[in-house]
């Protein structure tokens, strides 16, 4: 490696075992579009060139990062790097792989044969609001009051009404969300709960699932989806790379 090449900025997507072959058709986020590996001992970094004439983070960069990792995850264990990771080329062996080979091998072994699924669930708004109204007299009364007042006279009552509804939704989230996760947990190796973005969200949990049990897991999710139809819409993303299951160092 000549000195110029050694210092060349290199994008790192993630880590795989050195004996994993790169699948065809991977597209990198750099100008060349190519993806390659740099191996050391039993581990390899999945790398590409990187655009230097613009900041990173456009849609295509994010999608390339995810696509490369998910494609690799479909074939074997992969440790995703946090977006974005750019280092000088020589550092991939000198600083990343060589000093941490054992650690990365262990991490890859712990992920072997496993994939991530992220389950999100969201209330059907009208259905859940009806349930809330039917179950709470105070909310019902406040709603009637608000409906009879002109808009500018009802501001504080409307805020109060909304607040009571949001509280009620958050309580439901807690019981219903936990209930869903508890039913799926036995089918997963590990779970990570993500923060909910809206009061209408019921669940947002990542599951690390053994590939051998993937179908069982998917069927269980489907079964819960059938039970909840009309009240909660479930969405299952995956299999994807184990983004949520990389330990904080």
């Amino acid at each position: 490696m000549n000195p110029e090449q050694a210092e060349r900025p290199t994008y790192v997507y993630g880590l795989i075992t050195a004996d994993t072959e790169l699948p065809d058709g991977l597209t990198g986020l750099g100008p060349s579009g190519q993806v390659a590996t740099i191996a050391h001992g039993r581990v390899a970094a999945v790398v590409s060139d990187v655009p230097l004439d613009r900041p990173l983070g456009v849609r295509g960069d994010l999608v390339a990062h995810e696509t490369v990792l998910d494609t690799l995850a479909a074939r074997g264990a992969v440790v995703p790097m946090r977006f974005p990771a750019v280092v000088e080329e020589h550092a991939i062996v000198d600083e990343l792989l060589a000093p941490n080979e054992d650690h990365f091998v262990q991490l890859l072994e712990s992920l072997e044969g496993r994939a991530q699924f992220t389950l999100t669930g969201r209330y059907e708004q009208d259905a859940v609001l009806r349930e809330v109204l039917e179950g709470d007299e105070e909310i019902r009364a406040l709603r009637e009051k608000v409906r009879e007042l002109p808009e500018d006279a009802s501001y504080y009552d409307r805020v109060r009404l909304g607040e009571l509804i949001v509280r009620e939704l958050e309580q439901r989230q807690e019981t219903e969300g936990t209930g869903i996760v508890e039913r799926l947990e036995p089918l997963a190796v590990a779970t990570v709960t993500n923060q909910l973005a809206s009061p209408e969200d019921v669940v947002n949990v990542a599951f690390l699932v053994e590939r051998d049990r993937q179908e069982e897991f998917e069927n269980a999710v489907e079964g819960i989806g059938e039970e909840l139809v009309g009240r909660i819409r479930l969405r299952l993303l995956g299999p994807v790379a184990p983004y949520d299951f990389i330990p904080e160092e």
Partner: protein
Amino acid sequence: MSIATQRSGGGGGGYVERAPGGGSSSLADVVALILDKGLVIDVFVRVSLVGIEILTIDARVVVASVDTYLRFAEATNRLDLYEKGGKDLPGLVQGITEGGAKGKTTGVLEAAAEKVNDILASGREQREEREEVRRRPVRQRARENEE
């Protein structure tokens, strides 16, 4: 952008929306999946990090606020509790307004991702307006720090 695929194989069904990942997911999915997750390169590579500008991607979870409360109050007011059987004209009108208001009830994360998307799209079309996008240098060159 978002592709829902029905499962092939297994017990059929279609009660759960499926997104397979691997680039066919929506930008909101990608952002939620990869942002702030994964192995942090700085922990391992301290000397030869390359400082690179990145576009700031905001995908924060917003805590319920007065706006959220008003939104739910409004949605509740629109509900016709006694709506049974066929829909009368107000019922139909209500259906239309609800459809129109769906955008407002999109998740915060999706909204953020759409915003990112807008910014990126405008960045592509009008490169000279790029300065409007907030940028922050993620990290300095470690070497510069040492000097």
